[in-house]
């Protein structure tokens, strides 16, 4: 068996009995998990949290169910999500906000060069619910399929698909709306959704 030939699914199955295999998981996915963290936290924090994700994976290995795609990343991103939330909760203390539970906006701002880009991103993502935003970003930033993202978030696939559809639609509307104008109301959104459903 070579490293390439051993799929993530095999690795996750074996990890249950052989915790040392977490080292293989790390070699394979640390870079991607770091990027997930760095998109949501300061780079130094992301580095600190990276090993925390894999140590938490070690503790959770008896409960792992590999995704049908075979990739361990949905599972690892789900763990990373909890690690980020835990970190931000500790860092923010009582100022913790439910809507921003998994995102350090200052870190995101610091990463983006242009002021205009920051404002746009805030406008677009700020108009989504936390669940919609997490789903949209897992797909757009982290490259998961909607089904994989559903697993990372622990939601049914059908829920993920409709939530993603709604999130994309709403984000594009927010993006297209002239600055300062209120985002479209629920009625408009519902009409658009119906239109999209018919066209699918």
């Amino acid at each position: 068996m070579t490293n390439d030939a051993s799929s993530d699914a095999e690795l996750l199955t074996a990890l249950r009995q052989q915790p040392e295999l977490v080292g293989v998981l790390y070699e394979r996915h640390a870079a991607a998990v770091y990027r997930y963290l760095a998109r949501r936290c300061q780079p130094a924090t992301a580095e600190d949290l990276l090993s925390e994700v894999f140590v938490a994976a070690l503790a959770a290995r008896k409960r792992v169910v590999p995704h049908a795609s075979g990739s361990a990343l949905p599972w690892l991103y789900g763990i990373a999500r909890n690690v980020v939330r835990g970190h931000l909760r500790r860092a923010r203390g009582r100022w913790s906000s439910g809507a921003d539970a998994g995102m350090d906006w200052d870190a995101v701002d610091a990463r983006l060069d242009a002021e205009s880009q920051r404002a746009l991103l805030r406008r677009v993502l700020g108009g989504l619910s936390a669940g919609e935003r997490e789903l949209l970003l897992l797909v757009a930033w982290d490259g998961l399929t909607p089904a994989e993202a559903a697993q990372a978030l622990g939601i049914p696939q059908a829920t993920a698909r409709s939530r993603l559809h709604r999130a994309r639609l709403r984000s594009q509307q927010l993006l297209d709306a002239p600055e300062g104008e209120p985002p479209p109301g629920l009625e408009t959104l519902t009409t658009l959704l119906r239109h999209e459903e018919r066209s699918v």
Partner: protein, 291 residues
């Protein structure tokens, strides 16, 4: 015009982690995997291998059960009479073996295991004081693509005992009175495993399987198992090395024991079958890979 995809593409770009950062994380993760460092939260650091899971019937059927020995019951305050008798006999035999290795340099264990229909060989040299613990496992994919290479376990030198792990010296400090040993092991479970009794059974197997436990401690470990309610004899078993033993089962885990010598020959659980070929003291471990 801004499209959503463009905006998200642009804002999702981040720098990769430097190799030094990756290396720092790697050390923490490896230490956690070997459960030794105080830098890791204790509840994680203590977590070790082999807590049992569902699906035992399939796995037990996968062992070569030649003559099923049926027994009944399973409640009460100890293993059923057949199992308790067998375990105590095995314990007495283990206690009669020569040995006791409080000062050896390494503990070498060799086994083979079957995972998803494929057989792998595992050898480990656990260091007592200072030296590197070396793992040679053909089922261990190497990060660099090398297979069958030796892997050094940083900070190794511990022995699994269910949800916890013990250093060599801690192992030799364990009481050899079964009641006190049971209490000591039970106090160290910390909620690991599906339930305390299962975890205790797993801890006993861990210490019999790959540790320098003295003959007296092995006898006590078998006595602890004999006191676990619900442990039962499941049948005569021929292991993968062709040796005959008797299966003793609790929950989803079956130990194949040779009552004449007190050796743990094999164990079987869902998705996993291991055969313990040899273990003993060693003065040396294999030379390390160059890097």
């Amino acid at each position: 015009m801004n499209t959503l995809e463009t905006l998200l593409d642009d804002t999702g770009r981040v720098d990769d982690l430097e190799p030094a950062g990756l290396a720092r994380g790697r050390v923490v993760v490896h230490r956690a995997a070997t459960a030794v460092t105080p830098a890791v939260p204790p509840h994680l650091a203590r977590r070790r291998r082999r807590l049992t899971l569902a699906g035992a019937a399939v796995a037990v059927a996968a062992a070569v059960v030649t003559v099923p020995v049926v027994s009944f019951g399973g409640g009460g305050t100890s293993a059923d009479a057949d199992a308790a008798g067998l375990l105590r006999r095995a314990g007495a035999a283990a206690g009669d073996q020569p040995g006791g290795w409080p000062d050896a340099a390494y503990w070498h264990s060799a086994s083979s295991y079957v995972r998803e229909g494929r057989t792998f060989r595992r050898e480990i040299w656990v260091a007592h004081r200072g030296g590197p613990t070396v793992l040679r496992d053909t089922g261990l994919p190497d990060p660099d693509g090398r297979v069958n290479g030796d892997v050094v376990i940083p900070g190794g030198g511990v022995f699994s005992a269910g949800g916890t792990s013990l250093t060599w010296d801690q192992l030799y400090a364990l009481p050899t009175d079964p009641g006190r040993l049971r209490a000591e092991l039970a106090s160290d479970l910390h909620g690991a495993g599906p339930d305390p009794t299962t975890e205790l059974f797993v801890a006993v197997g861990d210490l019999l399987r790959e540790s320098p436990a003295s003959p007296a401690l092995r006898e006590a470990l078998y006595d602890v198992a004999a006191g676990i309610p619900g442990v039962r004899v499941t049948g005569k078993v021929t292991d993968a090395a062709g040796r005959s033993g008797t299966g003793v089962t609790y929950g989803h885990e079956t130990y194949v024991i040779d009552p004449a010598t007190g050796r743990l020959l094999a164990d079987v659980e869902p998705g996993w079958r291991a055969t313990y070929l040899d273990q003993g003291p060693s003065d040396t471990a294999p030379a390390l890979p160059a890097n």
